[in-house]
Symmetry: C2
Subunit: 207 residues, 2 copies
Amino acid sequence: MISGLSDLELAKREPIVNAALKEFARKGYDEASTNEIVREAGVSKGLLFHYFHSKKELFLFLVDYTLEIIQREFVDLINTEERDIFARYRQAALLKIDMIARHPYVFDFIGVAALTESAQVKEAIQSRTHTLLALSLSRFFDQMDTSRFRPGIDVKRAMRIIIWTMEGYERAAQQELQTKTVSQLDYDAFLADFDAYIDVLKGCFYQ
Amino acid sequence: MISGLSDLELAKREPIVNAALKEFARKGYDEASTNEIVREAGVSKGLLFHYFHSKKELFLFLVDYTLEIIQREFVDLINTEERDIFARYRQAALLKIDMIARHPYVFDFIGVAALTESAQVKEAIQSRTHTLLALSLSRFFDQMDTSRFRPGIDVKRAMRIIIWTMEGYERAAQQELQTKTVSQLDYDAFLADFDAYIDVLKGCFYQ
DNA sequence: AACCACATTGACCAGACTGGTCAATAGAAT
DNA sequence: ATTCTATTGACCAGTCTGGTCAATGTGGTT
């Protein structure tokens, strides 16, 4: 539970929260407009500042909010027992695409927030994001099983190629999600497509 | 020669042009500030509007300017006789990284310009960018020689993996260029590194 | 009905910033 | 000294900023 808010209180904040995530993700802290947020959320200006007493407080709330979602619906669900790089990535990529479908702006927001240069929030952000991001990333990459690679393969570069492929696929999938609506049929075809890419990579690097 | 300007006239505009490319690339048309441009360029407000009579005219000048640079220093230098996908991509990637070192904001600017939603310039932009981008992209991808791929390889997906790897490498290189200065020593090491990636991919897909 | 507690509104504020203007100045060439 | 252009920066009206607050709406309790 974030900041000890009840479910009711969170539910009432939701239109504002979603609109704010979108606006901050698009424009960053300084360039984001509270007027645009309330317009998008369909509420009055006063209400935003009734719930969140300042733009800065709203932004910092969103950092906690998104980190909590990422932790709960992404990081915690990754099976760290799985040491095979493809199985691990497949799992992570599918979880991430799932999350983007449900919370379209969460990853974009936290990415923008973590890199913000705005003096007003920079310090407060870094202490919060560094913990999770550094920890979860290092945990994600460490202790990967590379024993199944073909002998003679340049493992370091092979892993980077795998990562870039996953990132590329993710970007393509995200772009498609922005236009189409999510349906089960799409999902099956999409999954088969994704697995086909993994098969190509496996055929490359595994013996 | 752009708009029939002499070399002297172009040279005097240069600080403004570079500052404007940077500002538009970062913020897009609407959010970019002419005040920020003149501050970065180190010239007075009046001078900008003496050379370019409006923000819109400045922006459209930059579109022509960058398209001409891209054409002259990138598109025209690509050897379309080369049908091998790796040789072609190696050539293009190296040209592009060269260009980013010399004109850091040109590709970012034209990317932002081509996708701008701003009503004021959208129409004028699209007629200019579509010609070059569509043509050069299609020419780049067509007639690629795939005969050297190992039999049984999923060629379509293999090509996408190659593209995503090139894009990933390019992003990494661009990020490094932003911090370090360009020196020949770096360049040799970088080229060897890049070729090592190509070798890994060739080992994957070629027989 | 009367009262209360709280949710919600939107007109309003001072101040910052916007693209753009223009009379005044600086500097070079004659 | 004169004339030319290159360059400046104070200034403009207008828009947008984050934030305030008295007023109004709403639903529940007596």
